[in-house]
């Protein structure tokens, strides 16, 4: 069985995901994430025959490939209009450095 999730882990995951998690929701979130892990832990206990191949994705088909051909890009004015801030040429973001 997996370890329960502690507050520190929740805070760390929230920070990585840039989620502003209110202080009073941390314990609740820890408990919910713990439930998810408990469920996954149950799946881990299923005994599999030796000949089962490892499984890397939920879709069984492979090789959806496109040829190296150009398609039209989106007009700049239109695509920049999705951004909170732009100067007509560039996206503008708060200073990074």
């Amino acid at each position: 069985m997996s370890e329960p999730i502690d507050r520190k882990t929740v805070e760390s995951v929230a920070r990585l995901a840039r989620i502003d998690l209110p202080e009073d929701q941390i314990d609740d979130t820890a408990s919910k994430l713990g439930d998810v892990l408990t469920y996954i832990g149950q799946l881990e206990q299923v005994e599999l025959p030796d000949d089962v191949e490892p499984f890397f994705g939920a879709i069984e088909s492979v090789n959806a490939i496109r040829p190296d051909q150009l398609t039209d890009s989106v007009d700049r004015e239109q695509i920049l209009s999705n951004a909170p801030d732009a100067d007509g040429e560039f996206y503008q973001v708060p200073p990074v450095l």
Binding site: R15, F56, G57, S61, I65, R66, E89, F90, P95, V96
Partner: protein
Amino acid sequence: MSETFTSPQFDQATRDAVSNDDVTVIIGLEVHVQLDTESKLFCGCSTEFGAPPNTQTCAVCTGMPGSLPVINERALQLSIKTGLALNCEIARYTKWDRKNYFYPDLPKGYQISQFDKPICGQGYLDITAPKGEFEPRRVELERAHLEEDAGKSMHDESQRGGNSKIDLNRTGTPLLEIVTKPDMRSPAEARAFLTELKLILTYIGVSDCNMQHGNLRCDGNVNLHIKVGGEKIATPIVEIKNMNSFRAAERALGYEAGRQLKLWKQNGKTIADAPKQTRGWNDADQVTTPQREKEESADYRYFPDPDLIAVTIEESEIESIKKEIGRLPAQWRELLIKEHGLKPYDAGVMVGQGAEVVEYFLVVAQGCGNSKMASNWVGQEVLRFLNESGEAIDAYPVSADQMTELLTKVNAGELDQTRAKEVLQEMIDSKIEVQAAMDKLGIKAVDNSEIESLCRQLIDENPDVIQQIKDGNGKAVGALIGKSRKLNPNANPGLVKDTILKMIGA
């Protein structure tokens, strides 16, 4: 097999006593190569460099909700081709994963990369030192994986805290990240690795490797293994970013090795005491400086990208790509040395100029029937012109066929080397062919009777020189060759010399 290191504390005197002979530099490289595709890795936007900002983007590469990436077939093929040229195992099953981090030039909040099933597995690349600075070495490759590039950020350099500007044209461009094992033992070896890698990539045509355009970027991991007090310790690993030329890479790694030794002598900290640090190379000041640590940056929380499905690669596809590879630089060098008698250094210089120069040489060598002469002329005359003009071989004014014609005349004794160089210069200056250049310079065949009367005249007019020759000073004949050139520039100096010696019975 990984070595284990102890983390004992040595006193200052013991640390100070460590000499350079006790220190081994350990270098690994990560090289990002932009693959030469028309369109991006997961969408049909152009990868062309230099377009106005944000004119080559779409819903997929800007990460709009509901858009779906579909992988570019050519990017797969070029990755396989690279892997084969680098002796890598090619995956039969490969998939893509999300590498999660936040940065303004990464619109999706994750980069589509490959985590546990890279397209190319372990391989190797052999390096040699052009002038014997180090022993030949096999650098093992850990893997090469196919991922998308991020966009470009432009920060306000004025210190006034202005906004950063983001251009997403580059977002989604296919990159192959080639990761070596920590197998290099000096900055010179790292440079040789990069040089050879770039040469291979350009020979097989998977990338133009233009570093100014960012089409080849490299980061280095470096630390030191130090033998001290009967034990072996390792200094903390530093990753160096922003090494934007091979020369810069060599200098950055050399600087960093020196810095780590000095720091360890000061504080004694080993790999067990400090986490991996990221530093940037400052080319202007020739130093590495610490880069702001991304908080918990190592925690990328990779997971399989649910928008993409895996790719399986058939044996037949690998075989057909293998056939397209052709000779690699090392094989060309061997051919030039073994079949054309070039010295290893000269073969290295020739091959280092690219496949087109080698092809030019082969046409001339085979055409004029004298590989050594062809190697001298291509190696000196042609390469000097290219170095001085900064042009590629296809801009060289003299075609391989014309060069062949010229050298065939030299080989047959119709032109001496000095005259031939004048002819070549005339061909370049006036953009004319061999015969026209010879006519323009007034060069015509000189028959034997003319040579003989010329030699008779030289003998009669220079009794002192003749006496010197007869006295055993063979070099004195050179003075007569100079005079012969003035009397008749078309007379072959070798023939004049032989005729004079025969006439005076020397």
